[in-house]
C-alpha cells in the first residue's frame, strides 16, 4: 500500500510492550512545518506511539512503516533515527547525571548533523545560560524541561517529539515553555506533541489525532476538536 508519502508518515504501525498489544494499527501523516497534537486518555498509546517513532526498543514495533522525509525509520535503531532527524523530548527528561548543563548539550552535538548552537539555546532559555556550569540533574523541573528541549534543538532535527512538556510544572513555567514552543513553531519546526493538557496542546497545534486503546479514532484540525463538544467529552473529558 503506497499512498503518497508525506513529509512524515506512520503507516499501520503495531507495537507491543512484552505481551501487551499497545499500538494497534495507527496511521497518520504530518506535513512539513506542521504541529500535530496526539491526544487521548491514559493508556491510549500516545507515549508508546512517540517512543515507537523514535525507535526506542520498547514498545517493540512488529508491523508497519514509518517514513520521515523519505527515510524508512521503521528499519532503524534509535541512534540511527536520531541521525535521520528525530528529536525526542521524553517525559522524564532524561538529563544525564554527572554532566553540567553545557556538557549535556555538547554531548548531543557530538554526532553530525548539529542544529542550534549552544549560544542560540542560551538565548532562547536565558536560565540555562546562567546555570551552564551547574549539574543538569540539580536544576528545577522547569529548567530541566528547558534543557531537554534545548538539547533536542541542538541537533539538526526534522521532527520534534514532545512527550508531556508541561507535566509537573508550575503554571508560570508552563506559560514560559508555551511561549517558547510557539516561537519554535514560528521557526517552521515540524512536531508531534503529546499532552494531557489538551487545550494547551490544541492551541499550539495545527491538527490533532485522538487515540483510544491503541487505535486512531479521530483525525482533523485542532479547531475541530476544540469546537466539537462530544468528541472532547468522549475522548478527552474536557
Amino acid at each position: 500500500m503506497s499512498a503518497e508519502r508525506g513529509y512524515f508518515t506512520c503507516n499501520d504501525i503495531h507495537a507491543y510492550y512484552g505481551e501487551s498489544y499497545i499500538v494497534q494499527g495507527v496511521s497518520f501523516q504530518v506535513r512539513e512545518g506542521e504541529i500535530l497534537a496526539l491526544l487521548g486518555r491514559n493508556g491510549a498509546g500516545k507515549t508508546s506511539t512517540l517512543r515507537t517513532i523514535a525507535r526506542i526498543g520498547d514498545p517493540e514495533l512488529q508491523q508497519g512503516e514509518i517514513w520521515l522525509n523519505n527515510q524508512p525509520l521503521h528499519n532503524m535503531a534509535s541512534y540511527e533515527a536520531a541521525v535521520a532527524g528525530v528529536g525526542l523530548v521524553p517525559e522524564d527528561r532524561r538529563i544525564i547525571p554527572g554532566l553540567t548543563v553545557e556538557e549535556n548539550i555538547k554531548l548531543a552535538q557530538i554526532v553530525e548533523p548539529v542544529g542550534w548552537s549552544i549560544e542560540q539555546i542560551y538565548e532562547l532559555f536565558p536560565r540555562l545560560g546562567e546555570r551552564r556550569k551547574q549539574e543538569g540533574v540539580t536544576l528545577s523541573g522547569g529548567e530541566q524541561q528547558m534543557l531537554a528541549i534545548g538539547r533536542a534543538l541542538s541537533r539538526d532535527i526534522k521532527l520534534l517529539l514532545l512527550d508531556e512538556p508541561y507535566e509537573g510544572l508550575a503554571p508560570v513555567i508552563v506559560q514560559e515553555i508555551e511561549k517558547t514552543l510557539h516561537y519554535i513553531r514560528e521557526q517552521g519546526m515540524t512536531a508531534i506533541i503529546v499532552e494531557q493538557n489538551a487545550v494547551a496542546a490544541l492551541e499550539l497545534a495545527d491538527r490533532a489525532v485522538i487515540l483510544d486503546t491503541g487505535e486512531l479514532v479521530f483525525e482533523g484540525s485542532a479547531k475541530e476538536v476544540l469546537e466539537n463538544e462530544q468528541l472532547r467529552h468522549e475522548y478527552l473529558a474536557i
Binding site: Y17, G18, E19, S20, G40, R41, N42, G43, A44, T47, E91, D92, T138, L139, S140, G141, G142, E143, E164, E167, G168, L169, A170, P171, V172, I173, V174, Q175, Q196, A198, L236, A237, I238
Partner: protein, 251 residues
C-alpha cells in the same frame, strides 16, 4: 495543636538553601496543599517528613512525636504514607500484588515470618486491595504487570498503595500529573470522599490548580525554600505575591 507540626526546618545542599525556616501546621482531618514554583523545595520538604532526608535544624512533630531520625519504615508504621511523584512501584509484580504488599505491611508490621500460609488464603488482604483498586477505577487491571501500565495508571496505583494502608497522614506528591482530565476528576472525587469519610489528614503537592482548589482546605505557598503565604484557598488566588511567584498572568 495540629496533626503535623513543622517548626523552623532548614536544609542546605552545598551552597543552596533548599529549605529556609519552614513552619507549617496541618490540622487533623484537613487537606493541606503546598504549592509553589519548581525548585521551591516542596519535594525536599516531603522528604524530610518520610525519613529520606534529615533537616539541618528544626522539628517535625506528628501527633506529638518527632518524625526526625526515624527510619522510613518506622515512619510509615506510625501512620504516614507517601504517594510518590515519579511512580515508585514494584515494577515486575502485578497490580494486585503491588497493593497487597502495603496492605500486609499495615496488618503485620515491619517484619512477619509468614512463610507457610498461601497468599491466596489471605482473603481479607485480597478484598481490601480489590476494594481500593475498585475505588480508583482499576479493578479490571489487577492482573497486569505494573511495569506495562501507562504513567497515569502507575500514579493511580501509587495512590492505591497509599490508601490501602488507611494512613493517618497521606502525603501526595503531584498525584494527578500525567493523568487525563477524566482520571484527574475521578481522583479528586476519591480523595474528597476518603477525606470526608475517614478523616485522613492529607498534604498534597500539586501544580494543577483545578485539583488544588477542588480539594484543599488550606494552602501554603512555598517559594525559594520559604513559606511566603499560608491562607484559605479563596484568599490565595487574589494574592499578589502568589501571582508573581507562581500563578503567572493567565490566572
Amino acid at each position: 495543636m495540629g496533626a503535623l507540626e513543622v517548626r523552623g526546618v532548614n536544609k542546605r545542599f552545598g551552597g543552596l538553601q533548599a529549605l529556609n525556616d519552614v513552619n507549617l501546621t496541618v490540622e487533623e482531618g484537613r487537606i493541606h496543599a503546598i504549592i509553589g514554583p519548581n525548585g521551591a523545595g516542596k519535594s525536599t520538604l516531603l522528604n524530610c517528613f518520610v525519613g529520606r532526608l534529615t533537616p539541618d535544624s528544626g522539628t517535625v512533630m506528628f501527633h506529638g512525636k518527632s518524625l526526625l531520625g526515624r527510619q522510613p519504615h518506622q515512619i510509615n508504621q506510625a501512620g504516614v504514607s507517601r504517594v510518590f511523584q515519579t511512580p515508585e512501584i514494584f515494577a515486575d509484580l502485578t497490580v494486585l500484588e503491588n497493593v497487597m504488599i502495603p496492605a500486609l505491611a499495615h496488618r503485620d508490621g515491619i517484619f512477619e515470618f509468614n512463610a507457610f500460609k498461601p497468599m491466596r488464603h489471605e482473603t481479607d488482604i485480597h478484598k481490601r486491595a480489590h476494594d481500593v483498586l475498585e475505588d480508583l477505577g482499576m479493578a479490571d487491571k489487577t492482573d497486569m504487570v505494573a511495569a506495562s501500565m501507562s504513567r497515569g495508571d502507575k500514579r493511580r496505583l501509587e495512590m492505591a498503595m497509599g490508601l490501602v494502608q488507611e494512613p493517618k497522614l497521606l502525603l501526595l506528591d503531584e498525584p494527578t500529573a500525567g493523568m487525563s482530565r477524566a482520571d484527574t476528576n475521578n481522583t479528586i472525587e476519591v480523595l474528597r470522599h476518603i477525606g470526608d469519610s475517614r478523616g485522613i489528614t492529607m498534604i498534597i503537592i500539586e501544580h494543577d490548580m483545578h485539583v488544588v482548589f477542588s480539594l484543599a482546605d488550606r494552602i501554603s505557598v512555598l517559594a525559594q525554600g520559604t513559606v511566603i503565604v499560608e491562607d484559605a484557598p479563596e484568599n490565595i488566588k487574589g494574592n499578589v505575591k502568589v501571582q508573581e511567584a507562581y500563578l503567572g498572568g493567565a490566572h
